[in-house]
């Protein structure tokens, strides 16, 4: 239990205090366990222990047929299930060289961006709560609720949607749904300002986030960081722009980047992403083309032998799927996910070193992880 005493030649022995943050801890967002070695309140080192939520989704997928796997991807990033669905379906479509109707691609874009807002709502709520501003949490959940209602109306589920199919979408959008989406955009616009009123210029918030967990662009890339966490360090990498999928090539939007690479910049990047997502949703909803919602998909999905990697921009970052098909069976030969949360979590020990215990929770919040995705 007690680490050996470290002698500094001082009058008293000084011990490093080892504390376990998690797996049952209110602000490790699930079942993350961080073993902190503290010198006073200063973090000397942090070991991230993961695996408490491992369900073997990758192995499980090798024993399910191609359609059944969609449902498993829901359970990875369970606060952004729709983007996981899109990523998987597009990867299989790439394997099958399947043409997806333009209408389906537009609806996918809308769902993805709604999902991004919902996920960021959860992020801003929990992040602010970790730093002690509890009202933002309930405000953000109030708006997330509206998005969940939209999803419920679309596919009947509120968390694990199973909302995509290989080759398109399972359902036509309900009549009047696009109007409701636009209505939501209008509401959301003012609500983002509300969050910003509570946080962006708040002195305590600035003091808690500015200069905390600074990481430069090259180092962030070297650690494999992605998504808003990487863009906060000034690297303009966004899969939506760099390798457009769904209907993003037809959308007009900006990729916000930070400059300092600290917690505050990562916060600002995500806040701006709220606005950009709304911009995309507006364009996509107003421009949904006519046509079929699902492409010409064979009855029995059996991709030809081969392998492919395809990545999308999930709310947390670059979500990639690497799938190998042997061309004979109705399930993948190998199924591998590159989860953004996992890659961002790698940076945590580097980020927290030298900061205080209170900053650890701020940093866990600022890299925005979901343990379902980290452990799979």
């Amino acid at each position: 239990m007690q680490p050996p005493a470290v002698h500094h030649g001082a009058m008293f022995d000084t011990d490093e205090l080892v504390i376990n943050m998690g797996p049952q801890h209110p602000s490790t967002h699930g079942v993350l366990r961080v073993v902190l070695r503290l010198d006073g309140e200063k973090v000397v080192n942090a070991d991230v222990v993961i695996g408490y939520l491992h369900r073997g989704i990758e192995k499980l997928s090798e024993n399910r047929n191609w359609t059944q796997i969609i449902l498993l991807t829901d359970r990875m990033d369970y606060v952004a299930a729709a983007t996981s669905n899109v990523g998987y379906c597009e990867t299989v479509e790439k394997l099958l060289s399947l043409e997806v109707p333009r209408r389906a691609r537009y609806v996918r874009t809308i769902l993805c961006e709604l999902q991004r807002i919902a996920s960021h709502c959860l992020w801003i709520g929990t992040h602010a709560m970790d730093i002690g501003a509890m009202t933002v949490f309930l405000y953000a959940f109030r708006e997330r609720e509206l998005i969940l209602d939209l999803f419920e109306e679309y596919c009947g589920a509120r968390l694990t949607y199973n909302s995509m199919r290989i080759g398109g979408l399972p359902l036509e959008i309900p009549p009047g749904w696009d109007k409701k989406v636009l209505e939501f955009c209008k509401i959301m616009d003012s609500k983002i300002d509300e969050y910003e009123t509570l946080l962006t210029h708040n002195r305590i918030w600035l003091e808690r986030t500015k200069g905390v967990g600074v990481i430069g662009g090259p180092e962030a890339v070297a650690l494999g960081m992605c998504g808003p966490a990487l863009r906060g360090s000034g690297v303009p990498r966004d899969v939506r722009k760099d390798e457009p999928y769904a209907a993003y090539d037809e959308m007009e939007f900006d990729v916000p980047i930070g400059t300092a690479g600290d917690t505050y910049d990562r916060y600002l990047v995500r806040i701006e992403e709220f606005r950009q997502s709304l911009r995309i949703i507006r364009q996509a909803t107003q421009g949904i083309p006519e046509g079929p919602i699902v492409g010409k998909v064979p009855r029995l999905i059996k991709p030809p032998a081969g392998e492919t990697y395809h990545a999308i921009e999930s709310p947390k970052g670059e979500l990639g799927y690497f799938i190998v098909s042997d061309g004979k069976s109705t399930n993948p030969y190998r199924f591998r996910v590159r989860p953004p949360s996992f890659c961002n979590l790698q940076a945590l020990p580097r980020l927290v070193r030298g900061h205080l215990v209170a900053d650890v929770v701020a940093l866990i919040g600022s890299i925005d992880i979901v343990l379902g995705e980290v452990d799979r």
């Binding site: 005493a5 008293f12 022995d13 011990d15």
Partner: protein
């Protein structure tokens, strides 16, 4: 009569807790007993009509200094075996000699005071009434020099502590 009873009861408690301070096995318990002891001392002051002193006793000693003791005691690892405390620089005989000298001194002073009672303090008639005001008056008139010297001493101690604690100043 009532005052005497109160005095003896309070004094008894002071002694009991003072003994407990030095006999308690856990250092934290010692500190807690010390706090209780200080509270009884404050009660003694209060029973003598010195409310100001009583409150200051609680504020400074019980509420301030002992909290720092507790701070240190909690932070220092005291779960080591007693051998680890063996101090190579300890001079037992010298210690005893010094305490004997100290006791003797106190005894001399006490007996001198008993034989020849001090003349009533020629205090400047304080133009103020009230406990706090009188303390203030005396501090800034008759005892100004000792007061200033004590302040200087504390300042020096404070700077010394900062220098000791922050090596890379």
């Amino acid at each position: 009569m009532g005052e005497a009873i109160a005095f003896y009861i309070i004094a008894g408690f002071i002694l009991i807790f003072a003994v407990l301070v030095v006999t308690a096995k856990e250092a934290v318990h010692s500190v807690v007993f010390l706090v209780i002891d200080f509270l009884f001392v404050a009660a003694l002051y209060a029973s003598l009509g010195a409310e100001f002193l009583a409150i200051i006793q609680i504020l400074v000693y019980a509420g301030g200094i002992v909290v720092l003791y507790l701070f240190v005691v909690m932070l220092v690892n005291l779960k080591r075996p007693p051998e680890a405390y063996a101090d190579p620089h300890r001079r037992t005989t010298l210690g005893f000699a010094l305490s004997a000298a100290m006791l003797l001194e106190i005894g001399v002073i006490a007996s001198y005071g008993y034989v020849k009672p001090a003349p009533a303090l020629a205090a400047v008639a304080a133009p103020v009434t009230g406990n706090t005001e009188e303390v203030g008056w005396l501090l800034y008139t008759s005892y100004l020099i000792p007061f200033e010297i004590a302040s200087m001493l504390l300042l020096v101690a404070m700077i010394g502590a900062i220098v000791l604690a922050k090596r890379e100043l």
